[in-house]
Every structure is written in C-alpha cells, then in structure tokens.
Symmetry: C2
Subunit: 451 residues, 2 copies
C-alpha cells in the first residue's frame, strides 16, 4: 500500500523519462502522493528531475515542490518562469505553503510571481503571510478557514459553509466570529449537522477555544497543540480578530525539527545535517564542536603538565586519567540532558533551584559511592599502591558530584539568559567536566601523596 | 488564555479543598482542561489530590485521569471502586483511552470494571481493544468512527452520519465500506455537504486512502502519518475490514516518546526519567551507563599500564591522553547520531554501505587533518619534543578516522540485527572509542619512539 522507493523503481522511471514514454511514466506514478514524488525528485540527478517534473499532474507537481528540501527546491525554481510558478504551482497550494515557497525567492522574483497570481484574494493572503516571521504563529498559519457569524442560524451557516468550503481543502472546525471578525468561539460541523435548521449559532456554539496570538513563537504553538491534543488552532491579532489557523501537520514538523536539533546538539553537531548531505556539509557541521573538544584537550594537557613532576614520580596515576575524564563527561551530559528535556517539554514541575540541586547532589553521591566502591575493589586487588587506590576512589566521588551539579546548573543558567539550553549538552559540558575532573584528580593526588 | 500552574495557585486551591469551599474551587478550576487538571493533580500530595478529585465534573475527572503519569494514575485507581471506574470514568472516555486505563488494572479488577459497564457496545469495543499489543496500531486505535456504505446516496449518508456522530466526539473523515465492511475509500464531510442529495457515494468517494494493518508497529504508524501529513488513519484487519482509526494526537505522543528515548540514550540515560522523578529513579536510570563507562575506564587503565615503561620514560605522552580519548569519543558520537537519526526518520536515502563509509572516511580525514594540523602548530610552539608533536598529530588523524567509521558502522549493524540502533550512541560508542583511541595513541608512540 505504502510507496517504497527502490533503486530498481528509480532506474525504470528514469529510463521511461529519458525515452519519453508517457504511458509508462503515468503507470509508474499512479497512486503516488506528492511526498512520494518529492522523495523521487530528491534521488534523481538535476537533469533527470527536471525531465520528470514536466510529466507530473499540476497538483502533484505543486505539492511535491513543497515537500522538497529547501536547496533542491531552490535549484528547481530557478528554472521555472515566474508566470509558471504563479499559474501552475502557487495556484494549487494553500496560502501557508504558497507563502513559504514565494518567501524563498529573491525579492525581485517574489514581486513578479505575485503579479502573475490571478486570484486576487489569494495574492492578498500571500502578501499578508509574507509579513510574518517564519518562526511565529503567523509564519505557520494558513488563511483558509471556515467562519460563521454568531447571530446566524444553522441553515444560514450550512449554506455559507458550503460556499466557503470550496476554498478550504480541509475543514476541521468552524470558527464563530462577531460582526467585527473578533473570534468568539467555535462550533463543530457535527453539532451543526445535528441541530435543527432554525437554531441560532449563539445558542449552541462553544465559547472555550484555545488560541494563539499571531506573534507567538512556533515552539510555543507546538507546545500548546501537543498539550491540549489539538488538530487545529486559530490565530488572532492583538485585538482578537481571527487571522488564520495552524494545522497539526505543520506543527509536527516544528516538533520534529526541535527534537532533532536538541539531539544533534547533544551529539555535537552544530548544524542541521542529514546523512545524505555532502561530506563538506558534514565537516562544517561537526568541526566546530571538535574544535571545542580540541581546545579542552589542550587545556587538559596543560593541567597535567602542571603536575608533571608528580606524574613522573607516580606514573601509575596516568592509568586512571581517561577513567576520571570519561566519567566526569558522562555524568555531566546525563544531568544536563535531563534539564534540557524538562525545559523542552515543560515538565520541570514547580521545584525550585535548590531542591533540584539537592536532588542532583543525592543522585551524584549515590552514583559516586557505588562507582567509587567498585573501582576501590578493583584497585585493592590489582594495584599495589593503596594511596593511589584511595586517590582514585575519592576523586571519582568528588568528580561525579561536581559534574552532576555543574551539568544541572549550566542549562538552567543558559535558559535564564534566553540562550538555548541544549548548547550545554554535547561537547561543551563534556569538555569542561573533563578538564575540571582531571584537575580535581591530580590535585587530590597531590594532597594525598604529600601526606 | 493558557493555564499556567503556579505555587500560589496551588496553595489557594489546596486551602479551598481543605476547607471544603466548593464555590471557591469551582471558581479556580473554571475553564480548565483535563490536561491542566492532571498537571495540578501531579503536583498535589496524595491526600490533597484525592480530596480535590471528588470536586471535579465527571468529564474533566475522566479526562484528567487519562493525562496523568502512569504511576500516579495507578495510585489513584486503587482507591476507586470498580463500579465507579466503570460508571464515572470509562463512561466518559473514548474506547482507546478506556482500554488504556482498564489495561493497566489487575486482571481481576479488569473483569469487575468491564462487568459494570452498562453500554454493551462500549464494553465490547474495550474487550476487543484489550487484545492488541500496546505498541501496535491496534493498541493505538479507537473504535469510534463514522462509516457509510458505498451504495448509499448522499441523503442517506447525512442521516446515518447524524446518528453515528452522536457517539463520535471528533469526526475527521467519513469512511466508505462495502456490505462486508471492507474498507473501500473515504469521503470528506465537505464533499457530502456540497453534493446534491441524490448523488451516490460510489460516484463521489475517494478510492485512495492511506491505511495501516492492525498489527503494524506504532512507530511505523507514526512514520506514515508524519510523512503523509495525516490527521487520522484507518486501521484494517488481514482481509481489509475497517476496525478503527488512529488520530494524530496519540501518534504525536508516540513520536515524542521515540525522540525522547533516542535523546536519553544518546545522553547515557537508560530508562525514561523526568526531572521530577525521585533521586532513586534517577540513579537507576543513570547508573547502568556509568558502569559501562567505569568498565571502559578500567580497560583504558590496563591499556596504559601495558605501556607503563614508555610513559615513565616519556611522561609528556600522558599530557595528551585526555585529548585523544575525548576526540575519539566525540567523533564517534557524531557519526552514530547521524545514522541513528537517519534511520529514525527514514532519510538515509538509497546510498549503499560502501558509499556511506567512504563519505565518513572523507569527513574523518578532513576533520582529522584540520585538527591534527592545529595541534601540530600548538605543540610545535609549546613543546620541545618533536617526536611527541608528530605522534600526537598522527594519532589524532588515525583516531578520528577510525572513530568516524566505527561510529557509522555500529548503529547500521545493530539495525540490521533488529537491535535499537540508538544503543550505539551514548557511553557505549564513546567508551569503545576512548579505549581504542588510547591504544592507537600509545602504540603509535611506541613505534615512533622506537625509530
């Protein structure tokens, strides 16, 4: 049932396109959705994709374009005239997708395309939408929706809805507004279908409606829709006028991007890359964090250098350098990941900072004591240096407690100063904890051997 | 507009509940949604929550119960009789939520509750749903949906839909079935509203419908709904009969859980914990990965021990132990995160294994050469041991390339053998790369100093 793109399929399609065998192409793409077609276009060479694109039915061609990666889309649009973009693509899109596509064009081409849109209402909607920042409710919303006036009766509503519905592809909720277009509430189609014709909207509509302001940030919109299990949310302006609606599919994309960004940050990737991107994009995304790691490594080298004499005398201390550094890094990442995730899904609860730090102290102490005891047992049996045995265990406990508290504190601080707390995870916390853990270990060694 | 739980609000509410001031409680909870109430219940003590719960309107009480954490819900249900669960809670829930709640009870209590459900159709639906595995389409679906027969006309449809809609809270799509209840397609309410009364369903319905089998895994369902931007998806059995539907809100939860799980894995957390969980839960979730780290640290200690003589002679080699280990770990995590994410969102594309490894080799080489050159420059100016300078740079390049390839290979292998590839990220890859990186460094040192 579901389309799966294979190498064989792609070869068959490409040879049909090359040979210009329209019947074969149509057979191959029968039943495909726009997103499937986008998947094919992404895998084709530039030339193949261009040749294939002209065979697509208009609606699929427009939809596939929206689903493409931004850079593939850009390459594509360069080869299409403004007139065609307006007439064949924009015509077949909802206002939100249309605005997204147009928004990516150069200023000059934007004006050309808009001038070619025949439906003036659509052109107006698109111009309105282009004004909003991408990452706000305004940037996510579509203008198409179904609205009824609060003083209409059910029969009028049904008639008006029939008229409006022709413009609206998916109609989830009918919004109720007053004569000034101020949002008053909502009414489900179901309720309209079940009510007698003469019933007034004001008698049966639902006053409670969760909404967002047009300037709300997109992750706030995502959080609200997720929390309240909404499929669609209305967007209003400062005085409460109904401007548009945001549907869950766009918000799912926002949520996925957020989650991917946090994941990549935690893994030390500083730009959004996909496996299929070029080696160069990968290098660019990975090198920055590695530079931080390198810098940390140099600091670490300097810390050790400061204790060179001690190490020459007690070479065995070097054995446990990686252990201490790794544990400090691991504990720090664990602690900050918990905070970052709590901030992301608003589940930190009402605990204050001190209570939170106290809990981390407890967790750190338990983990530290367990791991410290284990390494003590190991060293007790396999090492002949009891002082070193004590140094390693003591340091491990101290380092784990420190890393846990530091890992909790940093993302909370970043968040307080409106910096993305996910920055704390990944190589940054690891690197700082590595270096500081190392210092603690060597310093404790210095104290103990001096006794 | 949106509810935000504060300490002050909670105190006010709790004192109203304690004082039994119903009017005040009602005022405080006015306009709240079930999920807001669940948030309150989570923050209250057991006793406060129980006292507050009895004041809630039935529908909110039932909805809030569904939104609670599993363990809070369990504690709650222990204090409610089977009769009340059936009459007050289950009665007010959709079949999917009802089955989820009942499924968490003991076998004995399940039977009692089901025996007390008055609506036999609902009881039947719940029994059907309890048979499905939680993590499959069957476990996610609700039985409530609106269906029409393919040979009906529009007028009959509207009449039947009115009757069926009373049972269905949210109706997104109307499904078209034949006389054997085999799914044939779908028809939008909008189309029904716009068509003349005498039109037959078979003339206007849409044959193309994306669907899932009842035994499909829930992450597959999530992937399909996300890919095709679906709000609702029908579920069929082996012979194509329409069993139920899955709505996007449940799938968003699945997606979030998947993303959180991967994130926690990458951060070295082995069980799903939230910031607000007990110190003990946190310890349990974090200790396993730390044990792996400890084990890796011990292996690392043994690797260094094997080169003790070399280190005593060239103590300066110890300076760069943390740098090599940290870089190996960082590069490995980066590489595996890319693969894990590509597998999770199906974006790996059609590249074969060799092409992918070749790209990693290139990325590793570029990063390695850049970082190797930087550390060479540093050491050239700040170290008086040219051999060590060459050892560190060479090792860094070798270690980075190795870690990149290893980090790519491991999740791909795990996935091939149906093991969660996210296991590869986090401390496992880091630890193996640490130890192996260390070995490479010391071995290259051994070779170079021997020259």
């Amino acid at each position: 049932m579901q389309f799966e793109l294979t190498k064989e399929y792609l070869e068959e399609l490409n040879s049909a396109v090359e040979g210009n065998v329209e019947a074969k192409i149509m057979e191959l793409i029968e039943g495909l959705h726009a997103v499937d077609v986008a998947e094919i276009l992404e895998e084709q060479s530039n030339k193949e994709a261009k040749a294939f694109y002209v065979f697509l039915p208009e609606e699929i061609a427009a939809g596939a374009l929206v689903e493409l990666d931004e850079d593939t889309r850009e390459r594509f649009l360069e080869n299409i005239s403004s007139e065609e973009i307006a007439g064949k693509i924009i015509e077949n899109l909802d206002s939100d997708d249309a605005a997204d596509v147009i928004g990516e064009l150069s200023e000059e081409k934007q004006d050309e395309v808009i001038a070619h849109i025949e439906d003036l209402e659509q052109a107006g909607d698109i111009i309105d939408l282009l004004n909003y920042d991408e990452d706000t409710a305004g940037g996510l919303m579509a203008k198409e929706l179904v609205r009824v006036k609060i003083d209409w009766d059910v029969a009028t509503c049904i008639k008006e809805i029939r008229a409006q519905a022709e413009e609206v592809e998916k109609m989830y909720t009918v919004y109720v507004v007053d004569e000034n277009d101020i949002l008053q509430g909502r009414i489900s189609l179901k309720k309209l279908l079940l009510a007698p014709d003469a019933t007034k909207v004001k008698e049966i509509y639902n006053e409670v409606v969760i909404l967002v302001q047009v300037d709300a940030e997109s992750d706030e919109v995502a959080q609200i829709m997720d929390k309240y299990d909404l499929v669609v949310i209305p967007v209003i302006d400062e005085i409460g006028r109904l401007l548009g609606r945001i549907t869950i599919d766009d918000v799912v994309d926002v949520m996925r991007e957020e989650a991917e960004k946090d994941y990549q940050m935690a893994s030390g990737i500083s730009e959004n890359v996909e496996s299929s991107d070029s080696a160069w994009s990968h290098t660019r995304a990975r090198l920055p964090w590695l530079l931080i790691g390198l810098f940390g490594g140099i600091l670490g080298a300097q810390v050790i250098q400061a204790y060179e004499g001690q190490l020459t005398e007690h070479t065995k201390m070097a054995f446990f350098i990686p252990l201490i550094a790794a544990m400090a890094g691991n504990v720090g990442v664990q602690s900050s990941a918990i905070v970052v995730q709590g901030l992301a899904n608003n589940s930190l609860g009402l605990d204050g900072l001190w209570k939170r730090l106290f809990k981390e102290l407890m967790v750190g102490l338990i983990n530290g004591i367990v791991l410290g005891a284990l390494i003590f047992i190991y060293n007790f049996f396999f090492s002949d240096d009891l002082t070193l045995t004590i140094i390693v265990s003591t340091s491990l406990i101290v380092v784990i407690v420190f890393a846990a508290i530091f890992g909790t504190l940093v993302p909370l601080m970043l968040n307080k100063y409106k910096i993305d707390p996910a920055l704390a995870t990944g190589p940054f916390i690891t690197t700082v904890n590595d270096v500081f853990g190392l210092f603690l270990y060597l310093y404790i060694g210095y104290l103990m051997y001096a006794v």
